[in-house]
Amino acid sequence: MSETNSIISPENIVYKKSPVLLDNTMHYCPGCSHGTVHKLIAEVIEEMGVQDITIGVAPVGCSVLAYNYIDVDWQEAAHGRAPALATGIKRLLPEKVVFSYQGDGDLAAIGTAETIHACNRGENIVMVFINNGIYGMTGGQMAPTTLPGMKAATCPQGRDVSHDGMPIKISDLLAQLPGTCYVTRQAVHTPANVRKTKKALRKAFENQLANKGTSLVEVVATCNSGWKMNPVQSNEWMEENMFPMYPLGDLKDE
């Protein structure tokens, strides 16, 4: 133990909490991907030195209180309307950095029109999209991205595609729009994936500084409470089941 004690000293720190992340304990369930993505956004904001000029837009969903965790100015949107708020902010303050943060219900169901048109206009913003295939906040109901056969509170027998249609791969759709400059799909369940997601977020924010248009970073995520598994099982289940439907990688990078 003495060895360990001698290593634990400030000059040896190789990984610590970003000062852009506030000390408030996150309200998320243990192992929830939201926390990991928040931390990456905070790190990118810190490393790029844009904390003082960044405005975040929080959604309705489990991350409704995202503003309690990342130390920047925030606006809380109505369910699905974050891209419209971000449009209003960025159009009036083009020199500031604006990002929205949304779940799959928020971005790909109730807010589909706002999402598609913000991307189509090429609003110069970053959109972070957490796709956990379920409505976490309201207690695990079916999302537009719920997998075929996957059980949720409003499809207890599993999603029946003849009744509810197939899951919507909205990022593929958004990549078709001329306004998007960067559309990528990532995950945060392993250290390597976390590193890649951070790079993707960094690129997205840099695109905004370079006035390139809309950057969308989808993170295929777990909702272990909604999925009724422990966090480690959720990560395995995600690899096996979510990734075939939502393969990771860049969909567009211009």
Partner: protein
Amino acid sequence: MAKAKGAIVVDTAACKGCGVCVTACPTKVIELAAEVNGKGYHYAYMANPESCIGCSNCGIVCPDTCITVYRAKAVATA
């Protein structure tokens, strides 16, 4: 016995015991404690401190950013 190259400090009060770091550690340093913290979670701790290589994997995947990682500077040997 392996000589530790790294070390971690877990904010045990904040840890929610999700266990993601346990899986992420390449050298099986971390386990979840038998006892629980103030919130009732089995928090993560260094069960095998001598194996830590200071790779940061655990810190990086921790959703609640509870882990600070340290790595000893390489010391020139004779």
